[in-house]
């Protein structure tokens, strides 16, 4: 794969918060267009982009609302740019239609959501992980997206780069599902030299106009792109369409298109699965977590081990597509899976589905506003380990 354009890469060792690190990840990945609308606790990402992009070469625009921001990026992508938008809860709700539009039109782009407490205005300045199902299911219709969950400022950088690469590879919107604590915590962030950052290039067609069909899929079910202004005179629509990109509204065309859009992600699920696993080999109990909750879970696991419980931990880095096969295999080996998350039980439902009765699945819910106390997770581990 080609390497990052050094102009966007702030190589060095930094003391940086997660929001700023996510912005640097986007710049390193080659994003040269962002459209945003201010919303706590995500705003620092676009503030930094607005400050940085004029010296890198690109455009930031503050749009009039999140609906506008979330489709302005699609416009920029079809003109040739790599582009992203940034938001939190209420803004994420407004962006749902354009997540669906990006899925349907196969527009590679990145949505960053720094999660806060909801529903509605909820807790603007305090953390939650309650948009995890919304990221997967929030737009209407059947579809698949990819969602990544960082648990540190370093990972905000690393996964922002990966989010752009996956968006290009699969031509799908990718969600970077941060939370308020990860967004606002400041830690060491190491940004490598540009030549050590691999970049997945735009899958641009090599066919001449006339032979190019905008939605003819390749062997991996992903079609190649063209950009406006290149003479292809192509058509893009959110309507159900055929390989030419023309509206084709009937059951057969719908079946062909929607199944392909889903299959291009699900077929690659094993390759997309990304998680960190520790101490699960001989564990009776495994704590499954993601994002900021994984750091509290780690403490709870240490406390449980000190009490003699054989407990391991698994941290989801790719949350969607959910690593069903991997969790099912784990469930066969352990007695129970404990799932703490800053919501009232979302990803635990996926764990339960994957476990399919092979292991007991315990939810450790939290309505948001702070992180769990390690003892809450510890209690759940001790209870199930009895």
């Amino acid at each position: 794969m080609p390497h990052a354009d050094p102009r966007g890469v702030l190589t060095g060792v930094h003391f940086m918060d997660g929001d700023h690190a996510a912005c640097e990840g986007a710049l390193a990945a080659g994003a040269r267009f962002a459209a945003g609308y201010p919303i706590t606790p995500s705003t620092e990402i676009v503030e930094r982009f607005a400050a940085r992009i004029p010296t890198v070469g690109g455009v930031f625009i503050q749009m009039e609302d999140e609906l506008a921001a979330s489709i302005a990026i699609a416009g920029a992508v079809w003109a040739g740019a790599k582009a992203f938008t940034v938001t939190s809860g209420p803004g994420f709700s407004l962006m749902m239609e354009h997540i669906g539009f990006a899925v349907m039109t196969e527009t590679p782009c990145v949505f960053m959501n720094v999660q806060r407490g909801g529903p509605s205005t909820g807790l603007p300045t305090l953390p939650a992980q309650a948009d995890m199902m919304q990221a997967r299911w929030g737009s209407h219709g059947d579809y698949e997206i990819i969602a990544l969950s960082p648990n540190s400022p370093q990972e905000c950088f690393d996964l922002a780069v990966r989010a752009f690469n996956l968006a290009e590879e699969f031509r799908v919107p990718v969600m970077l599902m941060m939370d308020e604590v990860v967004g606002h915590m400041t830690e060491k962030v190491v940004i490598p030299p540009a030549e050590q950052i691999e970049i997945y290039p735009r899958r641009h067609t090599r066919l001449p106009p006339g032979q190019y069909k905008p939605y003819a899929p390749g062997p991996d079910l992903v079609p190649e792109m063209a950009h406006a202004g290149e003479g292809y005179r192509f058509h893009v629509t959110g309507l159900t369409h055929d390989e030419r990109g023309y509206p084709s509204m009937n059951a057969a065309a719908q079946d062909r298109l929607v199944k392909r859009l889903k299959a291009k992600i699900t077929r690659a699920a094993d390759r997309l699965a990304c998680y960190e696993e520790e101490g699960t080999e001989d564990a009776d109990v495994v704590v499954i977590s993601y994002g900021i909750t994984s750091r509290v879970a780690q403490r709870a696991v240490e406390m449980a081990r000190a009490r003699g419980v054989r407990v391991g931990r698994l941290r989801l880095i790719t949350v969607w597509p959910f690593p069903t096969r991997q969790i099912r295999a784990l469930a066969r080996r352990v007695k129970a899976l404990v799932v703490p998350e800053l919501n009232l039980g979302q990803i635990v439902l996926e764990v339960e589905r994957a476990a399919a009765g092979q292991a007991e699945t315990i939810s450790v819910p939290h309505a948001g506003g702070s992180v769990h106390a390690p003892e809450q997770i510890l209690d759940a581990i001790m209870e199930v380990a009895k």
Partner: protein, 310 residues
């Protein structure tokens, strides 16, 4: 792929002498055909609908303005007029309801070399998309907006629009519309558009001329085109067929170039003031962006014309 519009002279009616008398191969060619995705015909528009007429003017304006057609992009929202993007043989984007303008904003900012035309209806641009159009006009981003106003939601079956005149019947105002309508030219004038005109689908030559004007003008340009919707608006309000609408437009239209936009509001049976109301200069958005950043950042400012990724 030709990148230059053909000379209009080349596309005029063929001289009789050129047609071999015995040949069966000769097919009369419509000069606008090259602009259309003929493989998508027949179109969905109803008999007597005015949208196709505006597309004809659009094609002729593209010819006349001699634009590089490879660099013209059409962006539409949702609705009957939203289907224009699907029928023009150009890079074309049929986006989501109300969001043609912000899509076009991203497209234009990432590649300013494109001529970006937003072609959509009154409901799409001024009800669900109303916030976007006033902000695009405020910014004076270089977009060419063609708003086909048929006073009604056509695609969904004839409901109230923000342009429906008081007293008119729609399926959601079955006892007559009582909401005041937007005066679109006044709204666009107030929001900062540098070019504002109104014509009807009766005024095909003036409309073509106005489109050529906006292709040549930099900044946020707006043309309102009144068109009949015989299937819904005309029928519901006993206004006859498409041809009756042409007679009506002919009879009621008064050309008043430079009319104050506050005086051009439409009523259900009043005069239709048409013409070019606004044609002024204001700094364009990208020019403002670039000059501000260059002034503040000096040599550190990296100006990139086209944000194309590798």
């Amino acid at each position: 792929m030709t990148s230059q519009a053909r000379d209009p002279a080349e596309l005029g009616p063929r001289p009789e002498a050129e047609v071999p008398a015995e040949s069966c191969d000769y097919q009369p060619e419509n000069p606008v055909e090259q602009f259309l995705r003929t493989d998508r015909m027949p179109h969905i528009w109803c008999p007597g609908c005015g949208i196709g007429t505006t597309v004809n003017s659009f094609a002729r304006a593209l010819l006349e303005a001699k634009l590089d057609l490879d660099r013209v992009a059409v962006v539409s929202g949702i609705g009957c007029t939203g289907r224009v993007a699907g029928y023009v043989r150009l890079d074309s984007f049929h986006t989501t309801h109300g969001r043609a303008i912000p899509f076009a904003t991203g497209l234009k900012l990432a590649n300013p070399n494109l001529t970006v035309v937003v072609y959509s209806g009154d409901g799409d641009l001024f009800a669900i998309g109303g916030n976007h159009i006033i902000h695009a006009a405020r910014r004076n981003l270089d977009l060419k907006v063609i708003c086909v106003n048929n006073f009604v939601y056509g695609m969904t079956g004839g409901q109230l629009a923000p342009t429906t005149p008081v007293g008119a019947l729609t399926t959601t105002t079955p006892y007559g519309c009582y909401e005041p309508a937007f005066n679109l030219p006044a709204l666009m004038d107030a929001a900062g558009a540098v070019y504002v005109a109104r014509w009807t689908s009766f005024h095909v030559r003036q409309l073509t001329r106005a489109m050529v004007d906006i292709f040549r003008k930099k900044g946020f340009c707006f043309i309102e085109v009144l068109t009949p919707c015989p299937s819904l608006f005309q029928r519901k309000n006993r206004m006859g067929e498409g041809l009756d609408a042409m007679k009506y437009y002919k009879e009621k239209s008064k050309v008043r170039h430079g009319a104050p936009t506050s005086e051009v509001g439409l009523t259900i049976d009043g005069d239709i003031i048409v013409g070019k109301f606004v044609d002024r200069e204001r700094p364009e958005f990208l020019d403002l962006l670039r000059s501000q950043l260059a002034a503040q950042l000096g040599d550190r400012y990296v100006e990139v014309e086209h944000l194309v990724c590798s």
